[in-house]
Structures are given as structure tokens and as C-alpha cells.
């Protein structure tokens, strides 16, 4: 279980970029961590290294945004935010069924602890705010 201490945005970006290199398609990356922990920074870096050219903006309101990356293997990058959910639904309830377990798709879920029944091929990333600009990142 790799653990990292991030001292700034550049460190978090590096951890996300490393993870992006290991993704082959069909994975679900489940992010947890408090408001302001840096989940969005992590997603932005992950998307960029996978070839997403658009600006990643918060999907809180619409729950899910789909991007088309410039990438030979991956044709969709799906960014989900479960912040507003109350833990009573699973990913297919919010319209994600079509995107799960597809070799050409990467799904990233923020506030993943608020949904039920995550698929087996899930990579869990937890970001903890440790005061100042410090963050503790655990990838499972």
C-alpha cells in the first residue's frame, strides 16, 4: 500500500501522474478525503497525464462529467462527484452503469465513500489534510 507525503500541489501532481502511468483501462479510482483535501487537484493531474485537454471542473452539480482524452487506449475519462449523495445509492443509480468495467474507460469517483457497491477493480486513494500545505496520500 504506497503512502506519500505531499508538501505542495507539485507533489500531489507527481503522485497522480505516477498512478496514471499504471492505469490500463477499465479501472475505477475511488477518492476519499475531506473538503479542501486536494481531491480535485489530484483528478486534474490524473486527467492531464491521461491526455485530457479540457479543463476539469467540478462535477458536483451534475454529478458526472465525461471527457474524451487524447490517448490510444483510453477513449473516455469519467469524473464523478458523490459529495451530494447520502450513501443510499450505487453507481448505476446515478447513470454510471454504461461506463463501468469497460477496458477503454477510466472512471474517477470523488467522495466514493458515499456510494454503495463499488466494483472489484477499484483503486482506493485517500487524501488527508495535515495542516499547512501538507497532505498524506494513501493508494490501495
Amino acid at each position: 500500500m504506497p503512502e506519500y507525503i505531499s508538501k505542495n500541489v507539485a507533489d500531489t501532481t507527481k503522485v497522480a501522474t505516477e498512478l496514471a502511468k499504471k492505469l490500463t483501462g477499465g479501472e475505477l479510482v475511488a477518492l476519499s478525503g475531506n473538503l479542501g483535501a486536494g481531491k480535485t487537484v489530484f483528478v486534474k493531474a490524473l486527467a492531464e497525464s491521461l491526455g485530457v485537454k479540457d479543463v476539469i471542473t467540478s462535477p458536483t452539480f451534475v454529478l458526472m462529467k465525461v471527457y474524451v482524452p487524447d490517448n490510444k487506449k483510453i477513449n473516455k475519462f469519467v469524473h464523478v462527484d458523490c459529495y451530494r449523495l447520502e450513501g443510499q445509492e450505487d453507481l448505476s443509480d446515478i447513470g454510471l452503469g454504461d461506463y463501468l468495467n469497460d477496458d477503454k474507460i477510466i472512471v474517477v469517483v470523488e467522495w466514493a465513500d458515499k456510494v454503495l457497491n463499488l466494483p472489484a477493480k477499484t483503486i482506493r486513494v485517500n487524501i488527508d489534510y495535515r495542516g499547512g500545505d501538507k497532505r498524506h496520500i494513501v493508494i490501495d
Partner: protein, 350 residues
């Protein structure tokens, strides 16, 4: 020309009937069924619940709008095709597609944000009579899902000048309301508290105020509110009011400043506000005051048109037809229309 419009992009089921002729817009029917009371207990819209409620509401609502004439005098159907919650969009879209195809009527697929822009046309007859006098316009679209500056050169002609790089302004309101346990939706509640507070009590960051572009960022502002709260052991009513007032002042200053710089740079003839946050009095006042000082007409929608409604979708559809600018779909093509959850008003960024 009579247009029947359906809107179901989020948590409001809305249907409107518009009669438009040359330079007059006559709104014959306009009904909105809001689900806010249902979603309140969840602190936000729950897509599955919203979709089910749309399904229950849409047919009775159609029946009450159309009456015994049914679709006899309708020339066009219009429907919001995006952006929004895909599960919600699907309900309105399916109803509109079915009605249009079965009755051999053309269907206009309308962008929800374009609808918000045209809520100003529902409010101001000056705009309807003489749009050229006020275009190009700088439109600030602010809602729970969007914060964007758009240059509107003519009907259907939009150029994106800047937008939020992370959270929408309305979303920041919702999140601050949640941090303070004030309830949902956050916008009206936070601004009500803000009225009683001191705008200078806290020095919250004004993100990207001085950045040399027209983009916004509200994620850090919400985090600053969170850290302020974490430092305090107890918060009383005065603290809540002061935090809300200082937070709102930061949002309003950033939005107003950037809008005014953009208005000057692109030499627009008017400034318009659109979207759910257009109902915010502090933002209206700030933009009104600044545009007055630059002798620019300022438009903002009447309160009943700031929220999601189908009247604005009907007006947008009318101008789509007039300017031949939109997506007007006929016959079998209607069946292939799909919701576009992330449909952007304009992809071009200057």
C-alpha cells in the same frame, strides 16, 4: 408561431407555451413543478429521485397546459437537451421526442444555458423590440453548475471568454451553506444571512481577481471558509452572518470586477446576468452600480425566470428558429436525439 417547450434538466419539471410573432413574445402558459422540498432532506438533488418525480409529473403537467386542444395549434416543440443531469434530461427529451415524432412537428433541441440567457428577453421588452441596440452583450452566467462569461454577438452567436476552473459560484454557496449547516439550496439562505453580517469581518481570498484572463476559481474560497470554521471553537449567529457576508462580498467582487473588465475589452453595448444566481440581490446591485458608472445598460431576469423554467427554453427556441442558428430536427432524425450532459454553449475561447 406557437412553441411548446419542456425543461427537465435538473430538479424542476417545467412546461411552457409561447406565442411569438416578429417582435412580440406572448407567454400563454408557464408552469414549473419544483422538487426542492423533496431534495431538501438530501442536501442536494438526488438524480434517481429527480428522474422518478419527472416521470410522475410530466404527463399531468402536459395535460393541464394543452387542455382539449392538445397539439392542434402548436408549430414547434422545444426541449432542453443539455447540459444537466443525464437521468433528468432523458425524461423531458423522451416526452418531447415522442410528441414531435408522432405529430410530425419539428423539434428544437435547446441548450439550457442559452435558455437562461433568453430569460432576459422574457423580462425586458426593449430587448425583444430592439436587440441590435444592446448587442454585442457581455453575459455573466452564474448558477449551481456554471460560472461563465460569454460574449453574445447576435442570436445564437456565443463566444466563451472565461469560465470557472473548478467550482461554480452557486456550488460555492451550496457548500458554504452545508459547512454552516444552514440547509439547501445554499444561495438564498447564505445571502439572507449575509444581509445581517459585516462584509469586512473576514478577509477571504478573492480568487483570480487579478489574473490576466477571465477565468474564475471558487474552490479555494470554500476551503478558506472551512479553515476559518475549523479554527473557531464555537460559532454564534453573528459569526454565521459575518462569514456569509464576507464570503458573498468576495464572490460578488470577483464576478463584478471580471465582468466589467471584459465588458470594456470587448466594447459591448450591454451587460446581462443569467442563471440561478442571477436572483442574488447583492450581485444585481453591484453589477447595476458598476454598469451605470460606465453608461452601459444592465439586464437581469425577473425573479420568477431566474430559476429553471420552460418559458426561457421556448424563447431560446424561437430565436433559434428565427436566426436558423440552432438544432432544429425533423422526422426520423428526432428519434436519434440524445441528451448531452456537458453541452457547452460555446467551445471557442478567445
Amino acid at each position: 408561431m406557437r412553441i411548446l417547450a419542456i425543461e427537465s434538466s435538473c430538479d424542476e419539471t417545467a412546461i411552457a407555451l409561447l406565442e411569438a410573432k416578429g417582435q412580440s413574445l406572448n407567454l400563454l402558459k408557464n408552469q414549473v413543478y419544483s422538487q426542492i422540498s423533496i431534495h431538501k432532506k438530501y442536501g442536494g438533488v438526488v438524480p434517481e429521485v429527480a428522474a422518478r418525480k419527472h416521470l410522475e409529473t410530466i404527463i399531468p403537467l402536459l395535460g393541464s397546459i394543452l387542455g382539449k386542444d392538445k397539439l392542434k395549434n402548436i408549430d414547434y416543440l422545444a426541449v432542453t437537451a443539455g447540459p444537466g443531469l443525464v437521468t433528468s434530461l432523458l425524461l423531458g427529451l423522451t416526452a418531447a421526442k415522442t410528441l414531435a415524432y408522432a405529430n410530425k412537428l419539428p423539434l428544437v433541441a435547446v441548450n439550457h444555458l442559452e435558455g437562461h440567457v433568453y430569460s432576459n428577453w422574457l423580462t425586458s421588452s426593449d430587448l425583444v423590440k430592439n436587440p441590435k441596440k444592446f448587442l454585442p452583450a457581455l453575459v455573466l452566467i452564474v448558477s449551481g453548475g456554471h460560472t461563465e462569461l460569454v460574449l453574445m454577438k447576435g442570436h445564437g452567436q456565443y463566444q466563451s471568454i472565461g469560465r470557472t476552473l473548478d467550482d461554480a459560484a452557486g456550488e460555492a454557496y451550496d457548500k458554504v451553506a452545508k459547512l454552516l449547516s444552514l440547509g439547501y439550496p445554499g444561495g438564498p439562505i447564505v445571502s439572507k444571512w449575509a444581509d445581517k453580517g459585516n462584509t469586512k469581518a473576514y478577509d477571504f481570498p478573492k480568487p483570480m481577481l487579478t489574473s490576466p484572463n477571465f477565468d474564475f476559481s471558487f474552490s479555494g474560497l470554500k476551503t478558506a471558509v472551512l479553515y476559518t470554521l475549523e479554527k473557531k471553537k464555537n460559532i454564534n449567529k453573528k459569526d454565521i452572518a459575518d462569514i456569509c457576508a464576507s464570503f458573498q462580498a468576495a464572490v460578488v467582487e470577483v464576478l463584478t470586477t471580471k465582468a466589467m473588465i471584459a465588458a470594456k475589452k470587448y466594447q459591448v453595448k450591454s451587460i446581462m446576468l443569467a442563471g440561478g444566481v442571477a436572483a442574488n440581490k447583492a450581485l444585481q446591485q453591484s453589477l447595476l452600480q458598476k454598469s451605470k458608472s460606465q453608461n452601459l445598460p444592465f439586464f437581469y431576469p425577473a425573479a420568477n425566470y431566474t430559476g429553471d423554467n420552460a418559458a426561457m427554453i421556448a424563447v431560446a427556441a424561437y430565436y433559434n428558429v428565427v436566426a436558423k442558428s440552432g438544432r432544429i430536427i425533423k422526422n426520423k432524425d428526432i428519434l436519434t436525439l440524445e441528451p448531452e450532459a456537458n453541452w457547452q454553449l460555446s467551445k471557442n475561447k478567445i
